[in-house]
Symmetry: C2
Subunit: 476 residues, 2 copies
């Protein structure tokens, strides 16, 4: 393995300008999945992937998720590309996932350069939409295969691939395909690797073993039959906004403590291993202050802040539908207001129990108000939290690969948000899933001036290859 | 006086179809002051008034308020028409006010008929935009003059008139003219009469002696430097929405009780005379329930409901600027939210003291939250409450005129909203101001299918004339 990896690393270094040109080629395809006018570009990008797989000798099939409705149009969904490279029963089989669609981007949004023209700046950053999210990582896998082929080296594992074109727009149709292929295209899979997130900071690689879930609620309070003038009716009716303010104020404290009884009961206790994983992390309060462009953090140390971000639940009030929301002054008593809030959940919380706690509590609190208005709570969508064991061989292999490439032990991180496909793979295949990021915290994935550092792209390509070699040595 | 009024009433009955045709003529001029494309029609309507004054031998001058900015255009403001009819030093001088502009109206809004074509339906309702607000009342004054002229009867008082064309759009420029003319065009005025409001119900006339004031606030809470993703940052920052919900919940109870210390201190006590004015009122809880299209009233009797509407202050939460307000689910932590609320004030509350109480209380409550966010409270606009003595001869005359025309004692009402010109006249001229409505509660002044009952128009014309005769007999 050591000799093979030395050759492989040297080949990657040698071909790095080819890889950058390849990234330039795909960044130039504006595959924005949430924009009707760019839907053909998403298909062009899907075709580019298929052309590359053909060139590399990867077997592939496409799955057609059908059509969907968007902005008044019925649109064809882009293909889900399933690849298979190697079918040796003596080898482990690894499923890798990536998405070939991107977020919208317009120069006018504040980009320093044209978003769909890859530019390498003086800091060695490859700037362009999709560079880090998620075209760079997809190319990482393809580059690794190509480098092995140039060296006449066989890959130490069988690969399965799942590349979709709707991730930035709800991954429509993907879950059904994964479930359907669990005993089909994916039947031999031993482990899953997703490269679609980021280092915790900017200097140290990480591997990610947990994500929070979400339960998103609408809380509708209805009073008068129509909006009323506050001069004529103020002081005579129970106002829905007043009731909503009371209920909102009973959900969470300004310090972030959730006040709903029962919500904290199922939060998994902090283990010693997890506690030990925090101190080495590449993170401090100023990283957080820079990210939020302010200093209004709840905690006075970065470890509690990270625990607040990813291993404890949180509750955020997002806003109100139906109230006056424009600039200026309007003297309205809104007739019906819909408060929006969500709870980020962590293991071992389950959506059904969260719902039960939320609904009971809100109804109880509303009854105390003595209001003649009516209340209705509804969960708009829910996703379960996810956590994997970082002691699984899949993680041990990834950590060893990081040490091999970067000469440093990786951070063991979770994330506060959700990557729903993670849980789908885990539940459908019942295999360990690993998140192995290529880019950095500062890449600006959904923002202007998205970038992927050249070093992250090139060392990341090495990392993905090394991970496959390390995994091939594990027994599980 | 009795003989003169008998003749006058008979003449009004005889000419009623002429009056309806005249109303049809002015409703056909779509003098919408808040719509750039209709501004020429407002001028056409102003010219129509001047033509009528000329025909009736009323001296008049116009005051030009200049220009204003609206929707990106610099527009000429419509003329304020000042009329003078009679200059006999032996007579009382009465100033009457009306506005010749109207609210917007489109058939598509849900009108049963074309809004700018007056239609008389089978219920005897004259349906059309401006019929009741406020072209009918303006014509009432002109009809009364015409009827006297036809009869060869001299008016028993001198009249001064103030007709504006911007009432539905902030009465821009009017206050300055009133203040400037206090010792000019209006210098001999003994009493003021405004016919621009409505009966309390649908069956009994009223005269109106009080209006609430308003103090409108924005309450800005600022946290992170930009909107944040609730997955990534929920649980790590003090969220402005949470703080705002807490402050909102401390302002007013679901029963409408204002919680701000000091706010209730200056509320004038209920006098015996005022208390006695409530039982005869044409109002009950079902009138209120119909008006709000629901039954969520705070009080279980109509007298407390009316006191809540017009003689006690109220506080309404209107909405939030900067939070998520659309349909659907967005997982945002808004960086800066601006809560909007207002207090309807009553005598003897003063805006400066209201401001002081609000600002101190919010800052005190915010300090208790232990939040690292910042708060800022600002009063966007304030208007004082107004109340007149209904024992003044101006009111006694109006009440006698109501009894003469309708054979019933009028309701003595206040209103919960504001008619700012009322206070301007009172403060600038230092004379008693009376609100003497022509239309009914159900006229739908700012709504679709605005109407003025034929009987309200014709009996209302009699009322305005009778009021002038009754006033001429008073000494004050």
């Amino acid at each position: 393995m050591d000799a093979a990896l030395s050759q492989f690393f040297a080949q990657v270094d040698k071909d790095q300008n080819i890889y950058v040109d390849r990234l330039r080629e795909v960044v130039a395809i504006p595959s924005v999945s949430s924009d009707v006018s760019h839907r053909p570009d998403v298909f062009t990008m899907g075709a580019w992937i298929q052309k590359e797989l053909t060139r590399l000798g990867v077997d592939f099939e496409i799955r057609d998720p059908g059509t969907h409705e968007m902005d008044g149009h019925t649109l064809q969904l882009p293909p889900i590309v399933l690849g298979a490279y190697g079918r040796d029963p003596a080898k482990k089989t690894v499923l890798v996932y990536g998405h070939y669609d991107v977020q919208p981007a317009l120069k006018e949004d504040g980009w320093a350069t044209e978003p769909f023209e890859l530019v390498e700046n003086e800091k060695g950053e490859l700037v362009g939409r999709g560079s880090t999210d998620d075209k760079g990582p997809i190319l990482g896998w393809l580059n690794a295969i190509e480098a092995h082929q140039k060296l006449g080296l066989e890959l130490p594992v069988n690969l399965r691939m799942c590349f979709e074109g709707m991730e930035e727009n709800g991954s429509e149709g993907l879950d059904d395909v994964i479930v359907a292929e669990a005993k089909g295209w994916f039947k031999d899979v031993d482990a899953v690797c997703i490269s679609d997130n980021y280092w915790l900071g900017d200097s140290k690689p990480c591997i990610t073993y947990g994500l929070r879930g979400i339960s998103y609620y609408k809380l509708a309070i209805k009073g008068p039959g129509r909006d009323l003038h506050s001069g004529v009716f103020g002081g005579t009716v129970h106002e829905p906004m007043t009731d909503l303010a009371y209920i909102f104020s009973k959900l969470v404290t300004p310090q972030g403590e959730i006040l709903i009884p029962g919500i904290m009961d199922d939060v998994a206790p902090l283990t010693a291993a997890e506690e030990a994983s925090y101190p080495p992390l590449d993170f401090n309060l100023s990283t957080l202050h820079n990210a939020i462009d302010a200093k209004n953090t709840i905690h006075d140390n970065h470890i509690d802040a990270l625990k607040g971000r990813w291993r404890y639940p949180s509750l955020s009030l997002h806003g109100i539908e139906g109230a006056f929301s424009a600039a200026g002054a309007k003297t309205v008593i809104p007739a019906k207001v819909i408060g929006k809030f969500s709870i980020r959940s962590v293991p071992n919380m389950v959506p059904e129990k969260i719902d039960a706690c939320v609904v009971k509590y809100i109804n109880d609190e509303f009854a105390k108000l003595g209001s003649k208005n009516t209340v209705e709570v509804e969960c708009l969508h829910a996703g379960k939290p996810w956590v994997a064991s970082f002691e699984h061989p899949n993680y041990v292999a990834a950590a060893a690969a990081v040490e091999r490439v970067f000469k440093v032990k990786p951070d063991l991180t979770r994330e506060g948000g959700s990557i729903p496909v993670t849980l789908t793979f885990q539940d459908a295949l019942n295999k360990n899933v690993l998140l192995l990021p290529m880019g950095r915290s500062s890449d600006g994935a959904h923002s202007i001036n998205e970038k992927l550092d050249r070093s992250n792209y090139i060392e990341g390509t090495k990392l993905l290859g090394a991970y496959l070699w390390e995994l091939s040595t594990k027994n599980f």
